[in-house]
């Protein structure tokens, strides 16, 4: 079930009303049932895959806690291998066999490609990683194995974050299923406001910009440099608003039900370096890779060569996690290179800034760093968004060619949509100053009831009327 669907508009209020009407012991069953219904709205049969991985990891968790010595390691490896095998079969089989056949062809082996053509279960990478983190945490002794199957299943399947995260850690979420959540007006309205903000990001910003981006990136050679540039900038906003909008809806929905999920984004485009960007973008995935890949590979404490390797492996796998395509792999590796170059050139850059009289923390210096980081990120997004590396290369080399101010719109994105798209980005940027010097929600919150409700209602109506509701699956669902 999509958040931006009529079905969810009926489903969610119904679940909330039932949730607060039921006594505490029955709420867990309701959440599990609701989560199953939510997931089965996509492809019903795929719930069986989820059931298999949940059962394996649930049993593994219990035996990991009970067993000692090599048996523990066997349970850990068994659980990881079986969970990853599901991921491999459904997500990477065609990619790896295709590449294997191509590689074999290079050395004279002419094999017939084996293509499974399996539809990827929605959000497979997310709940797989959440399951893996549970097993590893139990193995490390940082988390008690969950004795209740229903609790564990609800932890993996909790519908607000089932298909696109945040990828939760058991220490944060698991215990919340045993706690009683009272009806709290302040918390619920805060959750609803967050959901509204998420819908704005997704429907008004991301999905409108997607009309432009999809047209241009479908056949980039048909568009001018100006259109390629606009499409790339729009994609940066699209992917951010699509994913962080989903996260806002997920966190808001969980908050309405009394749960607190981890934050996934902290205005990443305000980062002053690529390193900082990755501390603010898809935080639950970044920390997952840090804890379960980067640190086990040695992290930054095992010498330069090991560190370089750890960074590159982590980012490349992170790219592959996003999809079975070389564009994602290159995108991940490119970010790794960015990060390493950033560290390697830090002293040189500091000296350059000092030479031109821009001290640490000065506004021009921060502006240059922010613009550079955003530019590098956009260049990486080109590789991420392009259909293939040839298209990516074309876009990256044609930003400056054939600018024509009379040729901006596309077939799906008529020019009359441009003011709406730009206004939406402006509202987004103003809204993102929430924690800063212009805290919009608290200013609105202090208004008397009538103007406050008028503003809230206008916002809801604006989302309703200026949103785009067609072909609008969340980008990260496919991962």
């Amino acid at each position: 079930m999509l958040f931006n669907s009529l079905a969810f508009a009926i489903f969610f209020p119904l679940v909330v009303v039932l949730y607060y009407s039921l006594p505490q012991p029955r709420r867990l069953a309701l959440l599990l049932l609701a989560s199953c219904a939510f997931y089965m709205a996509f492809i019903p049969a795929y719930i069986l895959i989820l059931f298999v991985t949940i059962t394996i990891d649930y049993i593994a968790g219990i035996y990991l806690e009970r067993s000692t010595g090599p048996a523990r390691r066997i349970w850990l490896v068994g659980s990881i291998v079986s969970t990853c095998a599901v991921l491999f079969v459904f997500k990477y089989f065609d990619f790896f066999t295709g590449n294997f056949v191509a590689l074999a062809g290079l050395i004279g082996w002419h094999l017939s490609p084996v293509v499974a053509h399996i539809i990827l279960p929605i959000g497979l990478s997310f709940h797989t990683f959440q399951s893996l983190s549970y097993v590893v945490e139990v193995y490390r002794g940082k988390q008690r194995a969950e004795p209740g199957f229903m609790t564990y299943a609800t932890y993996v399947m909790f519908f607000p974050q089932l298909v696109a995260g945040p990828i939760e850690r058991p220490q944060n979420l698991l215990h919340q299923f045993s706690e009683k959540h009272e009806f709290d007006h302040a918390r619920i309205t805060a959750g609803l406001k967050r959901m509204a903000w998420g819908f704005f990001k997704k429907l008004v910003v991301a999905d409108r910009l997607a009309l432009y981006v999809n047209d241009v990136y479908a056949a980039p050679r048909n568009f001018s440099g100006l259109q390629l540039t606009l499409a790339t900038l729009f994609f940066a906003y699209q992917i951010y608003c699509d994913f962080s909008g989903y996260t806002d809806i997920a966190l808001g929905a969980a908050q309405v039900l009394g749960f607190k999920l981890m934050e996934n984004f902290r205005t990443p485009y305000y980062s002053l370096s690529i390193g900082e960007f990755w501390h603010r973008w898809h935080i639950s995935l970044s920390t997952w890779f840090r804890d379960y890949v980067y640190i086990p590979l040695g992290g930054s404490r095992s010498g330069l060569r090991r560190w370089l390797l750890a960074v590159m492996i982590t980012f490349t796998i992170s790219g592959l996690w996003h999809g079975a395509n070389w564009t994602y792999v290159v995108w991940g590796a490119l970010n790794g290179v960015y990060l390493l170059l950033g560290v390697a050139t830090k002293n040189i850059r500091d000296r350059m800034f000092a030479a031109i009289g821009l001290p640490v923390g000065s506004l021009p210096r921060r502006a240059i760093m922010l613009a550079t980081t955003f530019g590098l990120t956009c260049a990486a997004w080109v590789v991420f968004r392009a259909k293939n590396l040839t298209d990516a290369s074309y876009v990256l080399t044609h930003f400056a060619s054939g600018w024509n101010l009379h040729q901006i719109g596309t077939e799906q994105f008529l020019l009359r949509q441009m003011p709406i798209a730009l206004a939406a980005i402006l509202v987004l940027e103003v809204g993102q100053l929430w924690p800063g010097k212009f805290p919009v929600p608290s200013i609105v919150g202090r208004l008397p009831l009538a103007p406050r409700w008028a503003l809230y209602a206008s916002f809801v109506m604006a989302v309703l009327m200026f949103g785009v509701y067609r072909n609008t699956q969340f980008i990260y669902f496919q991962f």
Binding site: L6, F183, H185, A186, I188, T189, L192, L211, Q412, L414, R416, Q417, I420, W453, Y456, A457, V460, M461, L464, M465, G467, V468, Y469, R470
Partner: protein, 384 residues
């Protein structure tokens, strides 16, 4: 009337009951009981209100009111517009067209037939009811709606296309139909195309505008309410296209070197038959017109002969005239076309003049002296 203290009652309820019991000696037992219940309910209600449920419910109630209100405002505003496609539909359902010659069909009808030229030549009020991106099933629905609200025309010129026998699969620009879903013929046809979508458009307020109005036409609604209409580009329903020939046809040829074919669907043939029957039942003379199509495109339509066989068969079965302008003098000249299917404004002017001449001849044969009162038109010079 007191409850055992062991029963765990909500505090509001308990206080209410106790307050009622205290008042009993003064007002009588029944009155006291009723008052106690009233107070208990009030207290309970206050508790619910205090918890914020009521506030949240009120806010969503406000949103629902706004949704219904805005929906009504948009519908009403769009139905007040006097220009362009909405203006045409508004005149149609308002019963103010009442033309003697009516043109129906797709975007080719819309942009090829200039009613001003036809009217000045024949002397008969003429109106163009061509509909962008439409197939025959929707064109028939619009014709039926027209006939419901307006005086019956004497002649219907129905423009034929290579895709005349293809049923609507996806409705082009759905927003143009939203204010008119109360018209049964239009709604039934749209519902037949996609039942899952169109019932929501009709019965869920704002759904159609929010979900299916990609061109944001709904924004014209509030403007229409205050009496504003966009600049008129539909002249008696005719929408001339000012664009010039582009490279699209070259790309099309490259992509389809073996040409293309259009389906002849039995349902599409049936709809054409129904269109003929509707006209004949209403005593309207129907003329099929295959308006000019770029010559090279004709050669690229692989099953053109089969499509025309169907046209001829229908024409013979029902004694309907078929005027084929495939071999129009300028069918091979790109300066009169915008693309392979559509004439530009200059081409439309030339074609409309030629068509008007032929209509005058037809009307003469039908011994309609009134039609001959009009002065013969002067054909615009052909620009080379």
């Amino acid at each position: 009337m007191s409850l055992p203290s062991s029963i765990d009652k909500p505090s509001g309820l308990r206080q209410g009951v106790e307050a009622g019991a205290a008042a009993a000696p003064l007002t009588g037992v029944n009155q006291a009981g009723s008052a106690a219940m009233h107070i208990a309910l009030t207290a309970s209600w206050r508790r619910v209100a205090g918890s914020g449920i009521l506030r949240i419910a009120c806010f969503f109630g406000l949103i629902i009111l706004l949704v219904y209100g805005l929906n009504a405002a948009i519908n009403s505003g769009l139905r007040s517009l006097t220009t362009n496609q909405f203006g045409v539909f508004n005149r149609m359902v308002g019963g103010t067209i009442n033309a003697d010659i009516l043109i129906t069909g797709s975007s080719r009808a819309l942009s090829h037939y200039d009613p001003r030229i036809i009217e000045s030549t024949t002397g008969l009020p003429t109106f163009n009811l061509g509909l962008n991106g439409s197939q025959t099933d929707l064109q028939l629905a619009v014709l039926k709606t027209y006939l419901k609200h307006n005086r019956k025309p004497r002649i219907v010129l129905h423009n034929l296309d290579a895709f005349s026998f293809v049923m609507t699969r996806e409705v082009y620009d759905p927003a143009q139909y939203m204010p008119y879903l109360g018209e049964n013929d239009i709604y039934d046809t749209l519902h037949h195309v996609n039942p899952k979508v169109w019932w929501k458009c009709k019965y869920l307020p704002l759904y159609g505008y929010a979900v299916h109005d990609m061109r944001l036409d709904w924004m014209l609604g509030p403007l229409g309410l205050v009496g504003w209409s966009p600049r008129q580009v539909f002249f008696q329903g005719f929408n001339p296209r000012v664009g010039r020939w582009t490279e699209d046809f070259a790309s099309f040829k490259a992509a389809n070197p073996d040409g293309v074919s259009f389906e002849i669907q039995p349902a599409g043939v049936q709809v054409m038959r129904e269109l003929i029957q509707v006209c004949q039942q209403n005593g309207i003379r129907l003329i099929f017109v295959y308006s000019p199509e770029y010559r090279e495109m004709q050669a690229l339509t692989r099953n053109r002969a089969a499509i025309f066989n169907e046209f001829h068969e229908l024409s013979q079965d029902y004694s309907v005239s078929l005027w084929d302008f495939s071999n129009w003098d300028h069918a091979g000249e790109i300066e009169y076309f915008r693309n392979s299917q559509h004439l530009n404004a200059e081409g439309a002017e030339l074609f409309s003049t030629d068509l008007a001449h032929r209509l005058v001849e037809e009307l003469a044969q039908l011994s309609q002296p009134a039609a001959l009162n009009a002065p013969p038109p002067s054909r615009p010079p052909v620009k080379k």
